[in-house]
């Protein structure tokens, strides 16, 4: 726009005041100067007319109607809750089932969504698949002994199985071996393992002894296993050792009694 010099006001000033002039917020001398310049300057007059016309066209635009499900979609994507899920009191005269549904519906509203249903389905599918791979079948539950003795037995057998599995893991075995090696290196005297080894051999060759002597031998045996030579990770505890432990426990109980 040419920057004509008009009496009282310049084109640049008219442009700066144009928005206020169209809004009708110009008053007094400023408005008079603006109108005087507009009437005398053709370029500014055209500019004012075009801006006014453009504003009228824009103001004539109606508000666009949002899609019907927009609010529903927004709530589903943000809080996963539908507007219809709000508590609606059941009308009088309805049966107890309808009233119960009316009371329970708001409580289950957060989970009664497609997203939750999909998540639940996926979780159920995953758990079922894992159980199937692990060899667990629902039908086997019929044969489970639910008496106190049966539960106790199942508990201890499961515990023993887990412990055995843990001890047989190669990683655990290697870590234990390393720790044992480090401990052996850190120990100043190497005499104990050397002394213990002949005792162990001797014990294997000797006939059965008394109870006290057997306890001592067993302690030495354990000591030798820990300090002298590496234990075999894959070998389960022998039945003799288990029986010895059970017998010694029974003897201790008898003595206490």
């Amino acid at each position: 726009m040419p920057d004509h010099i008009q009496p009282g006001m310049q084109c640049a000033e008219v442009e700066a005041l144009l928005a206020d002039a169209i809004d009708g917020t110009l008053h007094g001398a400023t408005l008079a100067a603006f109108e005087a310049h507009r009437d005398s300057c053709a370029a500014c007059r055209v500019m004012v007319e075009e801006a006014s016309r453009g504003m009228r066209w824009l103001k004539g635009l109606d508000e666009a109607e949002p899609p019907r499900h927009l609010v529903h979609n927004i709530l589903a994507q943000t809080i996963g809750q539908m507007p219809e899920a709000h508590p609606v009191p059941a009308p009088k005269g309805e049966g107890w089932l309808e009233r119960l549904k009316g009371r329970l519906a708001p409580m289950f509203a957060p989970i009664a969504t497609p997203r939750f249903a999909m998540s639940f389905g996926m979780a159920f599918f995953s758990i079922t698949m894992l159980l199937s791979i692990a060899g667990f079948h629902i039908a086997d539950l019929r044969h489970v002994d639910l008496s106190a003795k049966g539960i106790s037995k199942a508990y201890y057998s499961t515990q023993a199985r887990v412990v055995r599995y843990y001890e047989n893991i190669r990683l655990v075995y290697e870590i234990e071996t390393r720790v044992r090696d480090i401990r052996r290196v850190a120990t100043p005297s190497d005499e104990q393992p050397q002394q213990a080894a002949p005792q162990n051999n001797q014990q294997q060759n000797n006939p059965p002894k008394g109870d006290d002597q057997q306890d001592k031998d067993r302690r030495n045996q354990n000591y030798n296993r820990e300090m002298g030579r590496p234990a075999l990770a894959a070998s389960p505890p022998s039945s003799n050792q288990v029986m010895d432990e059970v017998n010694s426990q029974a003897r201790l109980n008898r003595r206490k009694a």
């Binding site: 144009l18 500019m47 066209w57 949002p66 709530l75």
Partner: protein, 199 residues
């Protein structure tokens, strides 16, 4: 002032986890946000998608709203505008570059935009009242540059004052007025030029 306090209370409840408060916010502001998006990008489908994105963004960042700096309406408009600018920069909602003489989508029995605007008995102002004329103005709005378009949308369609528009657009108030003037003038020229060509 009561309205401001009510809105701030609503926001606080929402931040505290009140789902009903969030639902009320969505009910109150979805129409406004949808209209800004619709007028800016020109497509109802895109506007619907963008409105949902705006509310998702608002839901995640509602705790950052500071009532002492600007009104909630200004904050909502700022979030909307920023998202629109991001999408525009990605090139998804580029300016419509077809000519006014082109037949948009082969509709309206081959009439050009100029022919639809033409009305021997009445001026353009009178025709804005009709549905078809509204469509013409909407299309002409899409031909403005994004800077001018957002300024006139906020001023003439959303009735925001210059100060709030300056906050939303992050430009001085004088720049806002200048953009609004240029936007209105350019829109009038786009419509008027074609109108004169037909005559």
């Amino acid at each position: 002032m009561d309205d401001v306090q009510a809105v701030n209370s609503l926001v606080r409840r929402c931040v505290a986890g009140d789902a009903a408060a969030w639902q009320e916010i969505v009910q109150q502001y979805h129409r406004r946000i949808y209209n800004i998006c619709y007028r800016f990008c020109g497509s109802a489908e895109d506007a619907s998608d963008l409105t949902q994105e705006v509310f998702i963004k608002m839901y995640r960042t509602l705790s950052t709203y500071d009532g002492t700096r600007a009104s909630f309406m200004t904050w909502v408009t700022t979030v909307t505008r920023n998202l629109l600018v991001d999408h525009f920069r990605k090139g998804k909602y580029d300016r419509i570059t077809d000519s006014l003489d082109a037949v948009p989508g082969g509709q309206d029995e081959g009439l050009t935009l100029a022919e639809r605007l033409e009305d021997p008995s009445a001026g353009p102002e009178a025709r804005v009242q009709s549905q078809q004329a509204q469509k013409l103005v909407h299309e002409a709005l899409g031909k403005l540059s994004p800077e001018l378009r957002e300024a006139v949308i906020l001023r003439d369609l959303q009735d925001m004052d210059y100060k709030d528009i300056a906050i939303v657009l992050k430009v001085p108030e004088g720049t806002v007025k200048s953009r609004i003037n240029r936007g209105r003038t350019e829109l009038a020229r786009v419509l008027q030029r074609n109108y004169k060509q037909v005559n």
